[in-house]
Symmetry: C2
Subunit: 562 residues, 2 copies
Amino acid sequence: MSALFDKHRALLARAQEACEQRHCWSPYPDMPAKYPDAEAAQARGLAAFEAHMGCLFELDQPGHHGARLASQEISPYTQRSLGSSYPHSDIDALFDAATTAMDAWAHAGIQTRLGVLMEVLETLYQDHLFEIAHAVMHTAGQSLNMAYAGSGVNALDRGIEALVYAEQAMRAVTPKASWQRRFGSAQIALEKTYRIVPRGVAVCFTCASFPTWNAWPSMMASLATGNPVIVKPHPATVLPMAISVRVFRRVLEAAGFDPNLVTLALDTVQEPIGKVLVKHPQTAIVDFTGGVAFGQWVEQNAHPARAYTETAGVNTVVLDSAEDLDAVLRSLATTLCMFSAQMCTSPQNIYVPRSGVRTPQGLVPFDEVAQRLADAVRALTTDPRKAAMILATIQAPQTLALVAELQSRAQPQGAVLLPASSYVHPDFPQARTCTPLMLKVSTAQRSWYAGERFGPISFVIACDSAQDALSQATQDVREFGGLTAFAYATNEAFIALAEQAYARAGAQLTINLTGPMPLNFAAAYSDYHVTGLNPAGNASLTNLAFVADRFGIAQSRRPAAS
Amino acid sequence: MSALFDKHRALLARAQEACEQRHCWSPYPDMPAKYPDAEAAQARGLAAFEAHMGCLFELDQPGHHGARLASQEISPYTQRSLGSSYPHSDIDALFDAATTAMDAWAHAGIQTRLGVLMEVLETLYQDHLFEIAHAVMHTAGQSLNMAYAGSGVNALDRGIEALVYAEQAMRAVTPKASWQRRFGSAQIALEKTYRIVPRGVAVCFTCASFPTWNAWPSMMASLATGNPVIVKPHPATVLPMAISVRVFRRVLEAAGFDPNLVTLALDTVQEPIGKVLVKHPQTAIVDFTGGVAFGQWVEQNAHPARAYTETAGVNTVVLDSAEDLDAVLRSLATTLCMFSAQMCTSPQNIYVPRSGVRTPQGLVPFDEVAQRLADAVRALTTDPRKAAMILATIQAPQTLALVAELQSRAQPQGAVLLPASSYVHPDFPQARTCTPLMLKVSTAQRSWYAGERFGPISFVIACDSAQDALSQATQDVREFGGLTAFAYATNEAFIALAEQAYARAGAQLTINLTGPMPLNFAAAYSDYHVTGLNPAGNASLTNLAFVADRFGIAQSRRPAAS
């Protein structure tokens, strides 16, 4: 079985090197147009996606006895049901099948597992990438380009990255040792064997807005270290994971392993099974991406299972000073608009000194900064064609409701900086859309922005000073969590303070970035995603801590043959 | 400050190599007699220990305002109080001081921290080893030789091992990277900085019978990764940790760091502070060694702190067949007697086929095996001088009570294989002692042995077959936990089964070992202690998982200077 490892060895070596040096690398083209034979591949992907509409998704996994669950997936682009249904398996049957499948997989050895999993990623890339991109588009609501890049190749990169660290952690354990020592007058010689022992069944919860990006690396981390995985997708976004699970199963089976190493557990919004899965006696590992409330429940209740979480928080911006304020505001506006700020890395809270932002042209007052930022956002969203490319759609109706509620509460207080409205998507006139809502508040109104307000919602917050802005922002991150942070300052002393304060708060900081790169772009092999140091999650994608505790080391020792 | 790193660089490199190859290595002599200028050093150590008797232990740490806590330590050798007292600090003051101390330590960098911590270990070894050995002897009740070897040099080795893995985990994170990529027509070049960010204050609980062995590596793991440590010793065994804490503080201070990186929190049996420490809002890491009940509470309640536990379980022996049964029984008897089986690695449950054990001389019936094992134990414990060397003393009066209770319950059932009694220690006639209690039961009487029975208590258990013995033993490990396991078989197929079953159950297996090496001897740099795969603990000493999650990685990125 090491044939598959040999096939992918060179690629894995380059990925190892990239993770060590953290430079820019990917085996995949970053734009759909650069995909090999792009047009035909995209057409095939679209056709494959459309073939799922209204169909029974075939997944030959145990424990469903023909039972089907009707999909609750509604395309944010058409606001119509996908009309599909999925096999609905009994949970205990999935756990039993996973446990049965585990031993042979664990015994197969590190290289065999890595080879098979690299083959899974290659199959996803070569045969299913556009199919999955369309599935993500019509469940999560991303634009097709973002679905390709963010939920496609970048998610594959994160999967490879997880394999890199899994390999590092397992390689640190020698398989054999010879040991000898004198005890009194006798020489004792022992042969020792060290085994990587998987912890047990992993449950992988995936979220509604970005399912593959966290799922693939989590699945790779568990599987590489020998554990089977039961995937539990959000009921609104099942199809991308159903396709993924089927690919994992087929490649595993083709490689001679039990496909029940990867299965799909489904539920509905009305009857969730999350707690049952977490507390199942066979659950040994939980990966969770999703909301803060259930994420915290998982962290508190997963024991004795290990939990790896990514939830949400307030992503903060501190504006002190800038060489080119317009460039800063353009970049901020773009990032506030990107996928209608439904990314866990989207900025939300923008802290600005009340006195204004220092520029070479002088101090730009707070109100003017806020207004120019709102203008920049408006400029990006007025033309429906441009809006469609950047805002895409709104995944959940609840997000529209939250926007409406905040807007109606803010209006009487004069706090609305930019009102939200829908726009008409040029290709999908029925699409659920919403332009950004921007509110202007002071730190006295902290309850407005104290915590994640999911969706296209941001706050420009008047602070006493740049120092106060930094201190308010990092305090909010410590208290409510935060993944990314952005600071603009021309003063190196202030930058050093910001680096220190955000490191302590555990948010990944981007400084003085302007230009065409989205501010919250996270590069695989280079940018760590989540620090695990604040309430926005306890694990990082991807580092040694993400993989090293998914297995134990069991040894046996015996007298050496003399 | 890298002068200290340079001083210890070569030693650390040899330790790295030992951990990679897991061969036999230690920088320390394994016997007290081989210590440099041994006689004088031992005399100085004894004098230093005796100087603590009846004294106020000086520890210049914050928050005690002169308050003292009278020691509850009673020497198991003299059954008299040590009569000392310790500074009794307010808990919040310790947390605040630790938090204040953390930043400079975190900023000092990896090599500086490793250098200082290696210097701590060297100072413990050169200036305090016999003082600590006597302190362990007169609190934990170990013999002086075991206190030297097990609580002295071997514990130092485990400390170095923790530094090795902490260094590996931190070295995997490059401090800097250059990253560039094209976005549209623009080339974006970023400089990235990656920071090791300590999680926060670590609380290290140490146990009554073997305090330094788990404490030093846990403290090293936390400190190497930048976290301060508050040590909470068991009230019965404070002095070894008080001496340790003072050494840490002095070396840290001499190296220019805040000594409050390491402090001592004390309580009494009547008013424990364990839960307060675990749930303290500033607690980020908990290391716990001790009883199962509180250990499980820690695992379940530590969140959001990370918990690393080692509790207890049933250590099992499976006897199928042997080339030299007498040699097997001698080795087992020795290990059952060692420190009166008050080690977390001591065997307790011995599973034997009812039909007997196969030997070249034929099948030795179950009852005969049990009797010969009891005879071997009796032979080691009849002569008080020999008994004193191997059994040492009983740490806690509760252990005597448990022995008495089990013996009186077993007697009417005819289950007593070897009754316990006290023996008169030749040097300490008042010593609390107890020879091993051995019971003979069947698997129908599982409640007798289902769980740890702490102290010199063992069970010889009649099973249906060797296969049944293995299956009962590994099931008991899965259910009640287990650290070590021992199997004797001449049949390779059975050995392979045992290796597999114990790996899945998560106990470290020793096969067919006889001779002078104690069966449960765990070699630093070579034997992993605890797998984390069963209820006997969730962490292993020492692997990457033990260290990699004690810190997070915070990054900052900014446009490269052009």
